[in-house]
């Protein structure tokens, strides 16, 4: 986020040794992994006696309706929950930045920080406790006479729309984006709001015309991270998902650990497809959000 603000050195090259660890780690594990994915997805795994190089594994998964359904489902989950998290995160940040009370600002920040340090697994557990058929909400509804038993409570967790999954992602994404947004928005607000207020702009207009466009980089960065995380998350859709529509991560995992040798290239092709679709959709998501925040949508 922060670009090099220090004065540039006269020396044209950085001491390479400072960059050795990061370059080594990234190129070996990420770059090497990517290379292996490309090679093995083409069907070339001599150690397993597979030598035929072709694109057939890609064609096979792309022709499979269940793969496309899973991909669509995963993209849907990531998009809906990242958008909701961004909206809520910005709403909280907006309320905080324009709040007069320091105590409220401090308290909100503390709550957001707790939200950030909660592990995903713990949030999955909380969502189960609250919203399952025998969860707290169902119990309260029963006591209030709204439902006659746990069978009448709607199936919020394992429904095909992924209510529980989205709720978990939103619960984790909102504080992350909210904290980023609060920090950049507070800095901008200090500088410009007084001027804007004297010119008679309302808080909402200050947000729309000044704060959001100027803080868009940080918001897009944090929101895109959440989008990508949701897209690749394994445990959340696995624990809270429906059996009929399987997320791509669950499908990919079961294929990857399958003991059958001939499914390996398919699993590699699926990984690489998810990686590429992921990167492309993160870019599209980021660009759209950036346009929206800068108010250039029309």
């Amino acid at each position: 986020m922060t670009k090099g603000c220090g004065l540039p050195s006269n020396k044209p090259t950085a001491p390479l040794f400072l960059l050795v660890p990061v370059i080594l780690l990234y190129s070996l594990l990420i770059g090497g992994g990517l290379l292996k994915l490309i090679i093995e997805s083409s069907g070339f795994i001599p150690a397993l006696g597979l030598q035929e190089v072709s694109l057939s594994h890609y064609l096979k998964i792309l022709a499979e309706p269940t793969f496309l359904a899973s991909l669509g489902y995963s993209l849907y989950l990531a998009f809906v929950s990242a958008s909701l998290s961004t909206f809520l995160g910005l709403l909280i940040a907006y309320k905080m930045v324009f709040s007069k009370k320091d105590s409220i600002k401090k308290l909100t920040r503390k709550i957001l920080q707790v939200g950030v340090v909660l592990p995903y697994l713990l949030v999955v557990f909380l969502v189960m406790l609250m919203l399952s058929k025998a969860g707290l909400v169902s119990r309260i509804a029963y006591q209030a006479g709204l439902i006659g038993g746990l069978d009448q409570f709607p199936n919020l967790l394992y429904d095909p729309w992924g209510g529980g999954i989205i709720l978990t992602f939103v619960a984790k994404g909102t504080p992350f984006i909210g904290l980023f947004a609060v920090t950049v928005m507070a800095n901008i607000s200090d500088t410009y709001s007084q001027v804007a207020k004297t010119l008679g702009l309302s808080n909402f207009m200050i947000l729309k015309k000044i704060i959001l466009p100027l803080s868009s980089n940080a918001i897009v960065w944090s929101s895109a991270i959440i989008f990508a995380y949701n897209l690749g998350s394994f445990e959340v859709p696995y624990l809270l998902g429906n059996v009929k529509v399987v997320s791509l991560s669950s499908r990919l995992y079961s294929l990857y650990i399958s003991p059958q040798i001939d499914t390996i290239p398919t699993a590699m092709a699926m990984s690489l497809t998810l990686l590429l679709v992921g990167l492309i959709s993160v870019c599209i998501y980021g660009l759209l959000l950036n346009r929206l925040l800068k108010g250039k949508s029309r």
């Binding site: 922060t2 090099g4 220090g6 540039p8 050195s9 020396k11 090259t13 950085a14 400072l18 960059l19 660890p21 990061v22 990234y26 594990l29 990420i30 090497g32 992994g33 292996k36 994915l37 709403l91 909280i92 309320k95 709040s99 308290l107 709550i111 920080q113 707790v114 340090v117 909660l118 592990p119 995903y120 697994l121 557990f125 909380l126 189960m128 406790l129 609250m130 399952s132 707290l136 119990r139 309260i140 029963y142 746990l150 619960a171 960065w221 895109a224 990508a228 995380y229 690749g232 998350s233 394994f234 445990e235 624990l239 991560s249 995992y253 990984s271 998810l274 990686l275 990167l279 993160v282």
Partner: protein, 266 residues
């Protein structure tokens, strides 16, 4: 747009965070929770006793998690400091590209990223080892560690460094006597964030550790898939307790000892 009371929003937030946490606490100490009752009854230490004394995996998992998260935090922070220093102080070819590539692990769907990493780990014989798990975790932590260290390096005026050098300060002294104290809040922040990230992680440890390296997440997972609320509640509190202790501990250290601005998680 009508003014929404900020109080109502705060109340909602508190409710959403505190009520479920309170329920977890009660569930870990009370054993009877039949359907229509809203709160559990029958006080009992059975859940805690089972987790702390009968579950053989719990202590292994906790110690493994602590060791792995500490090592990841230290490793990622050191790499982050080195990378941050290079990116803020020097100009070199490919700098913008490196800056872009640094955050790449955060923008790749993690399951695809870690399947690739897993393949390399098999090649390097790092699968099922602590080192492999720690390196895999560092990949996710380094982008955050570097961003933090860049922000802190950028905040140290070049003049301070030049002055120290003019006075005959060696490289080693420059770092430990001049830079380190100024960077300390950033180092603590980076350590705590990377620790929490690693301690909370499930999938990458599960994949690279091959089920041999058990962490708290892995002990907790079956409680969730089997809806074992009592044990799940107890281990949740341990999980949350460690994360909060690290988070609050770092925050206090930054505020009190360093007298810096409260940078934590801002």
């Amino acid at each position: 747009m009508k003014k929404i009371l900020p109080g109502a929003l705060i109340g909602l937030l508190i409710g959403l965070v505190l009520i479920p946490l309170l329920l977890i606490m009660l569930l870990s100490f009370f054993s009877y929770y039949k359907y229509p009752q809203v709160l559990p009854t029958a006080f009992s230490l059975a859940n805690w006793q089972q987790l702390l004394t009968q579950n053989r995996l719990f202590w292994t998992g906790l110690i493994n998690s602590l060791v792995i998260a500490t090592a990841t935090a230290i490793g990622a922070t050191i790499v982050g400091l080195m990378t941050g220093r290079a990116l803020t102080r020097y100009r070199f070819r490919g700098q913008q590209l490196l800056l872009l590539l640094l955050s790449l692990p955060l923008f790749i769907p993690s399951i695809a990223l870690f399947i690739g990493v897993h393949l390399m780990m098999i090649q390097l014989a790092l699968i099922n080892t602590y080192l492999g798990v720690i390196l895999a975790q560092m990949i996710i932590s380094i982008p955050y560690a570097t961003t933090i260290s860049m922000a802190f390096f950028a905040g140290i005026p070049r003049d301070i460094e030049d002055l120290a050098r003019t006075l005959g300060c060696s490289n080693k002294k420059l770092f430990f006597k001049v830079m380190a104290p100024l960077l300390l809040p950033g180092i603590l922040l980076s350590l705590s964030i990377c620790f929490v990230l690693s301690f909370s992680e499930y999938f990458s440890v599960f994949l690279v550790g091959g089920g041999r390296i058990i962490t708290v997440s892995m002990v907790m997972f079956p409680f969730l898939s089997n809806s074992d609320y009592g044990n799940g509640a107890a281990i949740s509190l341990v999980f949350l307790g460690v994360n909060l202790a690290v988070f609050i501990g770092a925050d206090v250290l930054i505020r009190k000892k360093v007298k810096g601005r409260p940078y934590l998680y801002e």
